[in-house]
Point group: D2
Chain length 300, copies 4
């Protein structure tokens, strides 16, 4: 269907179920919080890393326990990954935190959900006995002395059943791909609560497919129908006329409504950024999750 300047394929966005743990990293300034959140969240795609690390947005100084601005991070894996493996990978990733200058880590919300994950027991060992357990502004935390001052780490983080969603974006060229992805990410970062992006601040990646056609033993390989330099080589190329570049735009979020809201904003960004031609959603045969979001319904 035609939508603004582009074409939208009338397909479902198939959402994978996710295990999500969500924290906010505060620091002496928002700038430092962003640098450190990105340092903590690098290398965060499940194809290569044991855990995914996505950046959701800012909590203002009036919303965090310590009155400093912070960056919300969603640590997540597909639900196909066991809870034990997720917890293990989460603790390993968070073991970096005592290195981050001026930082503290809290849960995003002050109210505990039914499910929460213990992270404090692992991180507090850094304290070598100098760490102190306390209740700080209503939060159960460890106060750990580090070089820049005290680092506060909340003992538990809420644990959610969330989901992901992804778009495939066809464009005239790769510049329009990355610029549109970065602008969509800027909008979601600022306007949508509960949804997070990969590869922040770009937000878009070159996507993969499960398994291999020729290399059948590989876990993941390139998604060849979406590769522009193969469009004249393979029979099942999905590149429309005039498209010379593609980018995958994946998001994660706490619930379907937030994902829909973010997809609407993303689609509107792509639909109005010069050089974008068409949007679709990658198909996984509908096996990976319980939610399907019909793209045309998002923009109605």
């Amino acid at each position: 269907m035609k939508y603004k300047e582009i074409e939208i394929e009338e397909v479902n966005c198939e959402c994978t179920d996710l295990r999500i743990c969500r924290g906010v990293l505060t620091a002496v300034t928002e700038g430092i919080a962003l640098h450190e959140a990105k340092y903590l969240s690098g290398f965060g795609l499940i194809t290569a890393a044991p855990i995914q690390t996505c950046i959701e947005g800012i909590l203002s100084e009036s919303e965090t326990p310590d009155g400093r601005r912070g960056v919300i991070i969603q640590f997540n894996v597909p639900s196909a990954v066991s809870y034990e493996k997720f917890h293990e990978a989460l603790l390993k990733r968070l073991f970096l935190i005592p290195h981050l200058p001026t930082c503290s880590l809290f849960d995003v919300s002050s109210k505990k959900e039914d499910s929460f994950i213990d992270i404090g027991e692992s991180i507090r060992k850094w304290g070598d006995g100098f760490e102190v357990s306390e209740n700080y502004k209503g939060r159960d935390i460890y106060r750990i002395p580090i070089m820049t001052g005290d680092m506060l780490v909340e003992k538990t983080l809420n644990f959610y059943q969330g989901l992901d969603g992804a778009l495939e974006i066809f464009a005239q060229n790769a510049v329009s791909c990355v610029v549109a992805a970065q602008e969509a990410t800027c909008r979601i970062f600022n306007e949508v609560s509960g949804v997070a992006n990969f590869n922040y601040p770009v937000g878009g990646v070159s996507g993969a497919k499960v398994g291999g056609i020729n290399y059948t033993k590989e876990r993941v390989t390139i998604n060849d129908p979406f590769c522009p330099t193969l469009k004249n080589t393979i029979k099942n190329s999905k590149l429309p006329v005039g498209a010379n570049a593609v980018i995958e735009y994946p998001i994660v979020g706490l619930d379907e409504n937030s994902i829909k809201k973010a997809l609407k904003i993303a689609i509107d960004t792509f639909a109005t950024t010069p050089g974008i031609i068409k949007i679709t959603s990658p198909s996984f045969g509908g096996q990976w999750g319980t939610h399907k979001i019909y793209l045309p319904k998002i923009i109605q």
Copy 2:
């Protein structure tokens, strides 16, 4: 000794021997190359991650095989980590690369050293048989179709015996710590070839000590003599009068001369940034490496 506005402790900087592999990540713009280099290089300290990932600087468009600006990354581990474990961790980290939009990965230098590491064989499997082996501008590469176009990955990266060095910086407050560290990093990034920083662009971290005093089973714990909130609690606090914050400033590099050059620049930055009081170097009992650099000699 007094140096400009500060005190420098007359001690050795004890350098750990490192295994280093060095690559340059190019992209459609320097801005995208920096974003993706940071995404690839996040979570990169050996205390928490299986490999360290440090950012060295920019290669200009006249210095890269594909004529685009790129970011040089030093993937490294202490030499105490076996070559096999390093190679395994390197390949796992680089497995992310086919996701990075518009990127390519090359060796920094066109001339192969005696030692080099094969990275192409692992990454090329992403290509699912569509990848092509070729000689590109004198480099042996794989051309792998991805969504934004072709990704070029050099088959091997030069492998070096390098070293690290670190300073401990005492300051009036944590703001001076992070600002001075970030400025030292900016200078090294731009002015010194062969030396790379952790936690780019901040460059400073809260450091750790090996083992634990109380938690004797821990691999790493806080470096308590350098923690300001313990200065009135412990007997061996190293905080000088007037210092309320500390930051550790670690660098890695290919050779001792480059490390010395970078330490000189770092010391000069700290010595002239308002709020910095004193510089020393952490002591590891001289066990971890073959190089010692006497701090006073650096500034002569």
Copy 3:
């Protein structure tokens, strides 16, 4: 009085009355909008320029007429400057706009106030007869062809009687000054509508005094009681013990409540940034405006 970590002088913030005109500059991305807003808003202090140009914040894509994110700018002068001189200076400053790639300029609000300033008649002449007058999404605009596409310029901008306010911040060192100012600016930019900052994104400046003690013919000179290198030289130095740097933190806004809200946020930022010692407000003998805001009342 003591407030959190600092001292606040129990004085009035004396607010100057201002003439304010407010527009939003949209562009193909928020990043470009910010670059161009800063380019348009440089050189924007009344001591040196004929008009002040302050950056207020972002309007989201759902709040602008063209569905792109934009930066709100407050063009302003003290009310002591005549309306004619303000209008002349405004038109001269806005004459730059047809150069700004991908940009458009709209009023912030869709509802016209009683007072508005015509800007379209001057800018449209750039169009050389190719410009078109139209009603666009309820706005009266000129559509002017430029190199990157059509630039839309709303014919009038609402005109307000606003006010300014300023704080003087004493700190241990200049690094704390600029970092705290930049963080306060980040918070106001994101959290307060109707208030704008000078010298964005730093937000702080070295302030001036009216006239001169020795150079009596000068319009403006340094504010010597607030200059740290004069603290042992002059009798009326305002520097408290331990302070080695000062920064002036001026803001402008549409009404007193917004200014109060922004001053509260600024004071809280300064009160919790390491290295800040004391806050006061510069005194102008109460002559320049009708509003006085008592600092202690802001933080109650």
Copy 4:
């Protein structure tokens, strides 16, 4: 002629003679120096402002008198503007400087050319008698107390006869325009000494033509042959097939060789950025300067 991925029109780049004054603005960090250089250099095109303000690059800490990194700015006007008017406009622009926190202003080179402009006499009046004349690291300066510490202002800046040059870039869409311009600017900023860009960091603008076809009394109007939304309306449109956006890429520099070097780098950037179609140079009838640079010769 075909060049890499694009078409280059075989025309001259006609260079206007310029009066240039060049200074370096240092600050406590490179980041602050860049913010303040941009604040000083905003609103800097001769069509709208009385002086042009272009950003050239960074001087490292080993190249500036005060050992801090600084940003080089070229203040310039076409030579058609009298020396007196240039000097007057320069002093007015520099009158902002005592407001810039932690900044100092020096000449770029320590060696005085035959021609130099006095700037100190005007700025020093800010000092109200507290300023001090001294020789600092071989430079004749005024030391002016400001709020963040002492501001050093060199008394004179070298004065050059320079020139400008400009390209017109045709692209598939406006996103490729701004991205390519920003990348060209990044390269010139880092790789070419003596050449500076407008509207930093974007570097490209929508250009103007002298006078008007219909509005004959206007000084400047849109350059209609280069406006994409007029391509089907006017007879003399220069837009090639497939081009939907244009950007003008103007640079200024101290001498022809530097301009040629920068144009080469710019052309190479545009020739390899996705979405760029063709490059030409705007024609002014050859009246405005003594230098013509033949585009094909630049890339040989």
